[in-house]
Symmetry: C2
């Protein structure tokens, strides 16, 4: 059985260990919630201060040119492209994941209407992240389409076989269970049935290797504030396969997506390629922080990049699962994240009959930050850039103590926060 000493040894021999030095991590906390909000890179405060104090404060409006503000959506997009298997120039940073999903799902429905007008179904999973479902629900209403939600991934194939599905819209890594879809296989299956494949990479980008182009995916969106460490509410990203990018406008046809935004012509003329998926003026301070976050992931490239990060991520989650099962096995916890590597994201979720919320609160009180997801799930994210093996050991030890002692039953852990 692995000991605490073994974990220290794993950290000591970990070739990625020094990547942690890129981050400011609060003293006395074990932060296992980077899948909700990534930690702060050390480079970020200074970079944001530079944008605020010099670029905005001193150079003011000239910074659109002199500081390259106008190029940021594409410049950061090119960096993210390296993490998700697309080429530079094919992906841009803009808006929020929800807004970007609206753009690409609209575009996908427009393409489907042109190519296969009889197909009127958006297929997704009942367990998909709610904002994806809400956006799809709104668009389905607007376009007279039907949103069909499967209860289990096993049902996707039979729905696709119905020949009614215009777009299959899936999140590669389930936000709650951490289960991973086989993007290449599902995309192939969708295409075999004449369906477009749209992927949300919220819990994938920066967490595991993604190969959008190799998988032949049609559209993708992703989040900047989870594994990309871009800061709270960081702008999101959007990708359309080059075979689609110029076929249509996306409906949020704002000036930043115009071919010549500063010509101020009254008619819209979409920019070439993915740039037409830009809309309004980007939130520059948040953009600047996102770039630092993306750079913190790219810093792994000389050490093996996403493949190396993935190996460490799986080692961390393997260890967590093994220790939970060995040390808390009699406490009613069920590991709902798949044991199989190919099916596991960079997080582990534990279900329990009752008490999940209070157990999470008791852990937070001890400095172990995971989160709760309804109905009774404890969720722990393992960001290989900064999570150590010793953190895993200590987190499980705290979990064991919280459960063994019954301290989670104390009334103070029962107060619901607005955001859980």
């Amino acid at each position: 059985m692995t000991t605490r000493q073994d974990c220290l040894a794993l950290d000591a021999s970990d070739p990625l260990a020094r990547l942690r030095e890129q981050f400011t991590l609060p003293e006395g906390k074990i932060y296992l919630d980077g899948n909700s909000l990534g930690a702060l890179p050390r480079a970020t405060p200074q970079r944001v201060a530079q944008v605020v104090e010099q670029e905005w404060g001193e150079q003011l409006i000239e910074s659109w040119n002199t500081a390259g503000w106008i190029d940021l959506p594409q410049r950061i997009g090119d960096k993210i492209a390296r993490l998700v298997g697309t080429d530079a120039g094919e992906l841009v940073v803009a808006d929020s994941t929800s807004v970007n999903l609206f753009k690409v799902l609209s575009a996908a429905l427009t393409i489907a209407k042109a190519d296969a007008p009889a197909r009127r179904v958006i297929l997704s999973e009942r367990g998909n992240f709610p904002t994806d479902l809400y956006i799809a629900e709104g668009l389905a209403k607007e376009r007279g389409c039907e949103l069909v939600l499967t209860a289990s991934p096993d049902e996707i194939g039979s729905h696709l076989a119905s020949s009614r599905v215009a777009v299959m819209m899936l999140t590669q890594v389930d936000y709650k269970s951490g289960r991973v879809h086989d993007m290449a296989a599902l995309t192939r299956m969708a295409h075999d049935h004449g369906t477009l494949a749209l992927w949300d990479l919220a819990h994938s980008a920066g967490a595991l290797p993604v190969a959008l182009e190799a998988a032949g995916a049609d559209f993708a969106v992703g989040c900047g504030y989870k594994y990309l460490n871009g800061g709270p509410g960081a702008p999101a990203f959007v990708w359309a396969h080059p075979r689609h990018a110029e076929r249509f406008w996306q409906p949020l046809s704002g000036w930043m997506g115009h071919a010549a935004p500063f010509d101020f012509t009254p008619s819209y003329r979409p920019a070439a390629g993915i740039a037409r998926y830009l809309c309004g003026t980007p939130a520059l301070l948040s953009m600047a922080a996102l770039e630092c976050g993306v750079d913190s992931v790219l810093a792994a490239e000389p050490l093996g990049g996403m493949a190396a990060l993935r190996r460490k991520s799986l080692a961390l989650t393997d260890l967590f699962i093994t220790l939970v099962e060995a040390r808390c096995g009699d406490q009613g916890l069920t590991v709902i994240t798949p044991h199989e590597h190919a099916l596991r994201g960079s997080q582990v979720a534990l279900a329990r009959e009752e008490g999940a919320y209070r157990i999470v609160q008791a852990l937070i009180a001890r400095g172990v930050v995971g989160d709760f997801r309804a109905p009774e799930v404890l969720r722990f994210g393992f960001t290989p850039l900064y999570t150590r093996f010793i953190d895993v050991w200590d987190a499980v030890e705290h979990l064991r103590q919280v459960l063994d002692s019954g301290e989670w039953r104390e009334p103070r852990f029962n107060r619901k926060a607005a955001v859980t």
Copy 2:
């Protein structure tokens, strides 16, 4: 004739003069472009650093509750409401102006379709800010509506009388000429003809008193980075009159607009009131900066608020117009901003047969920052919070020298920047 000494005296006796101390303004520059990007409030760097270093860096995900992140869109919205004549709880900060315009124009078209299905026209002006026209063009295409653009404000009445107009979409202050629409009169005229009135307040909020509720307006959007000093790409705001707010979903039905976003239910249930106009996770760093900017405007409240700022703004633009006409009157410049106070925003635009771009560049080289707008317009913004009378005098003196000397004809002023 006013002298430089007179201007110094005007500043010395200006009751609003000390509001300028709120801002970091670059040494040696006369900044007359606050209508494009407001100056940096002194409070902003520290507040942004606090959000980055403490709220994100130390408290991490807990800041959604402990630092009140979740309440920011409404909290800042309540502050902006005081500047545009609406009640607290009726206006929220979210996304960009373009994205918000998509939301309210969609909602307006949906309402019009229900109440007056024969009306299929969106009416706007050919000179409206392009992103507004692009968003309307996209929506018109999507909804099978027609976008009709008037060449002059005088034509608006006859179009409304046609009984074909579903929504009149206007920007209160023209971005180029600075001409102001009479919001109350035009809204009344629109309503008399069964048309909804949607207002873009990009160059109004923080620049002049706005009375959305008193005017009976239906929808409004506005910009955070101009006269609200929120920083580059600051989030925008959106308002729907309470009589409309709950009639329909807006189409960007993301989780932040859900009645209970953290219940993670698969079906969308819109939040009460204007909160349903939120969509994705807000860009927190940019939001925090926006709040400082809005506070810089609210700081005028004890000194007479927007009415006092408006008086100073008109005094500044009166002075600029008078000095330009007196001192540069033989240089082919035409003041295209209305001389009549009721029709003038907080900026002055000058047209010329030729050379506008190069004259602006020559002024920038001398530290006088205005901007160029095609085809041949020099645009100068006067933010009463931080522009002094002496700045106006000095700016006109530089303009006179640039024109008299002919230095603007030097080749170095002919290089086009990407953003102009």
